[in-house]
Every structure is written in structure tokens, then in C-alpha cells.
Symmetry: C2
Subunit: 374 residues, 2 copies
């Protein structure tokens, strides 16, 4: 697959770091955390592509203030492969901007668009599936997504209703289903016809740009106008102007759900979007009481099924059940494990309560580096 038409990967690393608070923060979002071992989720994402896409063909779309941390995590990445977004405008903008750079540098190649902060239990299985999709998009002029067979009635994921097989294991998509309530999640996860929407996509670069023109014409026009500026002195200013005027929209809502040229590849590898602390309980080995205790200085006594995380803080948890307790420099979170994904309201309340102390503007490089590259 090497040569002019070899595939390119775009890793979307623009996460805002609210899901894993207090360990993740706007300065050190989730993709920089080493939640499952010695590598950060971002490093794992690149590692998983080994043998399929070399690092010089991996682009990382991220915000300006994370560029240094990205290079610190990925020292072999060419600096020009970091596609910086001047302000957050959600995933469609990141993918569209990356597509411009790909057009200029690589041409109409197969592209894999991948989140930077997911967990995958079977990297070989993932590579096989991704390889199949990258091959398929050479002949299929549409957008390909990956659907994971549900293993639990998860309310934190969107679902894809699978249609009949179209080609070679690739299926039509009947519809995308938003994150369901508990009742609907039970139904969807048991139906056999619904898969988890992984947010991983494959397409040919020009096919994506064409779909973008159809479903996000304003965004497509803005980026078309930006294309001739790539590499020019004017580029940073024009990029900022372009982003300033964009409506934020996700790839899912803005493009995938509107497209009529879709395929889903049902896959069997274990996958998790690591959307809350409960994910740690799913993928790390608990002690015999079901507890997962991470970091120095944490002690649990008489607890069951708790996740306790400490960044050096002394933490004592007594007689608790099904609880997450996470302590970091930014703060302390305590919540039932099954509710650990519902912390947005609390973070808003904290933000309001602590407005005067809230950190504004770009973070100190030390903060980002120490969070990411220790």
C-alpha cells in the first residue's frame, strides 16, 4: 500500500478534558493520560497503527496550545504533521482542515480518521479491520464507519442500526441513534441489529470533501477558500478568520448522519471510548474485592468495586461501594461509578463557584509537559 496512494491517518486530538476530571483538564486532556499502562492514550493510538500507517503519514489535529505536548508524546512525528486548530470547532472542522492538508501533501489517498483517546483491547484485530476498510474505500465512493457489537446496555454511546450487507462484509447503514436512555439501551444492545458507533471513519480524501460540500456547504466553501493559502505567510491569520466564522459541528451530526453513501463494518474487537471513570473498572484488573487502586498514597479498607485514583494525594476510602474517588492537583471527584460519566453539571457548578481562581488563556508549557510527558 506504500507509494503515492498509501493511506494516511488523521488522529483527532482536540479533546477538552472534561470527562476524566480532575485528572484530565483543559491543559492535560484525556489523550495525554496514561490510564492503562506506560503509554498515553495518544501514544497507544499511534502504536496501534504500526505496520499499517507509518508515523510520517499520521496527522494529528489538535489545538494550538497542545502542539508541544503532542510532539513530546510522539517525538518521531514530523512537526508539520500537527494540524493546529486555532480554536475548538468540533470534529468536522478538524477533519476538514486535515483533508486540505492531505490533498496538498498526499493527494486523493485513503484516510482513516481516528479519535486519540479510545481504548482498544485487540490491536491486531483493529489493524485487520482498518486495513480492510482502507482497501474498500479505494473502490467504494462513500464514508465507512466501524460498528462494535454491544456487550452491555451502554447509555454513553451512540448506536448504528445495521442494514443488509452491501459488499464483502460491509453493510448499509439504516440510521444512527443518539445516546439512548437505559430502557432503549437494553433493547438496542440485545437486538443484534445495532452496533456501537465508534467515531472511527475511513474514506478517500476527495470523497469526504465531496460529502462535506453536500452536507456542510458553508464549511466546505470556507475551507476551499483557505486551500490556496496553505503554506503561505497569510495562512495563520486566514485560518483563524476561517475558524472564527465556523459553526461547530461534529463529524457524526454534520456529515455521517446526513450522508447517503455509508457503510458500516461490524467488528468484534474490544473497544471503549473511555468516556468516564467506569471504563477503568472495565479494563483494568481489580483486586479480589473488585477495587482498582491507582497511584501512590491511596488506601481502601472494606470497599468493594471502587476505583480510587491518586496523583500522590493521601486518599483513604472506607466501606464504600461502587464509587469512584479521583484526586489530582485540579481537584477531587467523588461519584457512584455508574454516574461517573455525568459530571458535566458538577463541573459547570464548580466553574461558577470558582470563577475568580479559574485559569484562563494558554496554559504553562510546564503544566502540559509534566502532565503528558513525565
Amino acid at each position: 500500500m506504500r507509494g503515492r496512494r498509501a493511506a494516511v491517518a488523521v488522529i483527532l486530538a482536540g479533546g477538552e478534558g472534561r470527562r476524566f476530571w480532575p485528572v484530565s483538564t483543559p491543559e492535560v486532556p484525556k489523550q495525554f493520560l496514561r490510564l492503562f499502562g506506560n503509554r498515553s492514550l495518544l501514544q497507544e493510538t499511534v502504536e496501534r497503527l504500526k505496520g499499517l500507517i507509518p508515523e510520517d503519514r499520521i496527522l494529528v489535529a489538535t489545538s494550538e496550545n497542545h502542539a508541544a505536548t503532542i510532539l513530546c508524546h510522539l517525538p518521531a512525528l514530523p512537526a508539520e504533521n500537527i494540524i493546529t486548530e486555532p480554536m475548538p470547532r468540533n470534529t468536522a472542522a478538524g477533519a476538514a482542515l486535515s483533508a486540505l492538508h492531505i490533498r496538498r501533501r498526499f493527494g486523493d489517498v485513503p484516510v482513516a480518521v481516528l479519535p486519540s483517546d479510545h481504548w482498544i483491547g485487540d490491536p491486531a484485530g483493529f489493524r485487520t479491520a482498518l486495513g480492510r476498510a482502507l482497501s474498500h474505500c479505494r473502490t467504494f465512493a462513500g464514508l465507512i464507519t466501524f460498528g462494535v457489537r454491544p456487550t452491555r446496555p451502554e447509555t454513553g454511546y451512540g448506536y448504528i442500526e445495521v442494514g443488509p450487507e452491501a459488499e464483502n462484509g460491509f453493510h448499509r447503514v439504516v440510521r444512527f441513534i443518539e445516546k439512548p436512555g437505559p430502557e432503549e439501551a437494553r433493547m438496542l444492545s440485545a437486538s443484534g441489529a445495532h452496533l456501537w458507533n465508534t467515531g472511527m471513519f475511513v474514506w478517500r480524501n476527495e470523497v469526504f470533501l465531496s460529502e462535506l460540500r453536500t452536507h456542510q456547504p458553508a464549511m466546505a466553501r470556507a475551507f476551499s477558500a483557505l486551500f490556496p493559502q496553505l503554506g503561505s505567510e497569510e495562512y495563520p491569520r486566514r485560518l483563524r478568520d476561517t475558524f472564527q466564522r465556523l459553526e461547530p459541528v461534529s463529524l457524526d451530526h454534520g456529515v455521517m448522519e446526513r450522508s447517503r453513501n455509508l457503510r458500516v463494518l461490524p467488528v468484534d474487537f474490544e473497544w471503549d471510548d473511555v468516556g468516564s471513570w467506569a471504563a477503568l473498572a472495565r479494563h483494568l484488573e481489580p483486586d479480589r474485592d473488585g477495587n482498582i487502586v491507582l497511584g501512590e498514597g491511596a488506601v481502601v479498607v472494606g470497599c468493594r468495586n471502587c476505583v480510587v485514583y491518586s496523583q500522590g494525594q493521601t486518599v483513604g476510602v472506607v466501606a464504600a461501594r461502587d464509587l469512584v474517588v479521583a484526586a489530582a492537583k485540579s481537584g477531587i471527584l467523588v461519584a457512584p461509578l455508574e454516574r461517573s460519566g455525568d459530571i458535566k453539571g458538577m463541573l459547570d457548578a464548580l466553574g461558577a463557584a470558582r470563577r475568580p481562581q479559574r485559569k484562563q488563556g494558554p496554559p504553562s508549557p510546564t503544566g502540559a509537559a509534566s502532565g503528558g510527558c513525565r
Copy 2:
């Protein structure tokens, strides 16, 4: 009651600060905390005696390293009224040492021995009861204790089985009962014949010393030998030698439970030994969801009946029930409120886990002062 025979109070302030961890610590034990308002529990204890015992007749028995903090909390206290214990030997030793100083400075006066870290809801009622006991001990040659009528099946207190009335509302004591299990606590608290043992005592000084000779002869001999040294240059060294050889024993176990000359005064004022975080939930006004949130930086969302304490740390608690979350410089505690008294095992485990970082020796004066006198 003034003059030669006016009463003296001994406040026992030797607490080790484990019950209210992480806010209380060996350096800043519970008596120095301002849990219920602007005054520390120690300051409240002295304040409650106003009009009954003047500050120059209040002795405070404490460890050497807390003397400065005591004076910081009680600036009107004469420095010589601090009776320092060179090492912890439990409450009998503190009371016995104080009795020597009282004999020398005040003679055979009525003495009230009071914990430094309890909560009392009705200070006037307390003063009335204490005044009655201080009067009664002028004629009754025995040990007087106060029994509070139980209002719940508390397992954290000892109980006193009340006998028939002996004189003027003062009753005989049938027996002392150790902290009961839940079943026994339900029985005791409903019987009508059992009172909570408050650990507050009244006696004439020489009566106590006589009871000490009977029930703790070794301790009594050791202190008798020390008596001539009071005020001498030799005193500190001899005091240390004496304490080194003492067997630690509490006033309750070592003297009260062995004595045959006992009275209990049933009292009705609200009293709490503030033995765990659950005490805050009993005596502070909760919000409409039953939560008590103390300190800057703590936010609760969707919680019920939680106590959340922060010393400036950012704390977010989501969807929790009946939980205490306490954050301080020393660490973070998470436990069900009803189990918040059972943290000893966890502290031992933490101590073992963190041995290398454990603070040894006397604390920094800043630490003690800032914890006590801010």
C-alpha cells in the same frame, strides 16, 4: 464560690487527632478545629465555663508540642495553667498530674475534669448541672459523673446503668457499659435506665487522689514521689521519667469503673463527643437535600445527606448518598457517614503505606498555629 475553696477546672486536651482525619491530625487535633462556628472546640469548652470558673482557675492538660497552640487559642490563660504531659499516657495520667498541681496551688478544691473537644447544645443547662455537681462534691466524698439521656442507639458511646437516687438528684451507678453493638445499643438507648457516659467528672481533689491510690496504686506512688519536685529545676526530667514508666490507662477504665464511691447526675442538655464526621450532620443546618457543605471550593450535585468538607481544595461530589467527603492538606477521606467513626484501620493502613513520607518528631510551629489560630 470564690476564695480559697473555689472550684478549678481541668480540661483534658491530649487528643491525638485521628477521629477527624484528614482535618484533624497529630499536629492539629480535633480540639483545635472550628467545626461549629468561629470558635475552636477548645475555645467553646472554656467559653462554656464563663460565670462558673474563671480562666485563671482553668488548667489545660496537654502534650508539650501543643502548649503554644493552646495559648494561641486561649490568650487569657496564664501560661502556668498549661499542664504539659511529656508523652501520651491516656487520661488518668493527665488527671493525676493535674491533681498534683491543684493540690499545690489551690488545695482541696472541687474539680471539674472536662474533655476539650465535645459539643454541648445548651451551655446554660450544662453550667447548671456542673454547678450542682461542684456543690455536691463538697459533701459527697466520691466521684461524680454526668449521664446524658440517649436520643439514638449510638454505638460510639459507653453507657452508664443508673441506680436509685442517693441524694438530691444524684444517683448511684450500677455499672459502666462499654461501647455496645447495634443490637445492645438499641436496647440500652430505649431502656430508660441507661445514660451516655460523657467523660466529664467532678470531685474534690483529695477524694480523687485517694481513689487513685486505691485503684491505681503504682500511678499514685509515682505521682506522690513527683509532688515534692513541682516547680523545681529537676521537675521536667523527673516528670519525663515518671511518665515513661506509667502504664497508659483511661480515667474511665482505671478509676471510674473500679470505684465504689460513685454518683451519676442525669442531665438533659444536648451533648456530643464529636467522635466522627457524622456529628457534623447532627448539629449543623443542612441544605434542603440534607447536605452539609463546608469550606470554599466544594460543590455537590444530585447528592443527599452528605457532609462535604474542603480546606480550599476543589471538590466535586456527584449523585452520592449518606457520604462524608473531607479534603484537607493531610489527605482525603471518603466513607459512608454512618461508618465515618471506623477509620482507624484505614489510618493504620495509610500509615504503613506512607511510612517513608510520614512526619516524625515535633511539628512545625507554623503548622500548629495556622491549624489552630487562623
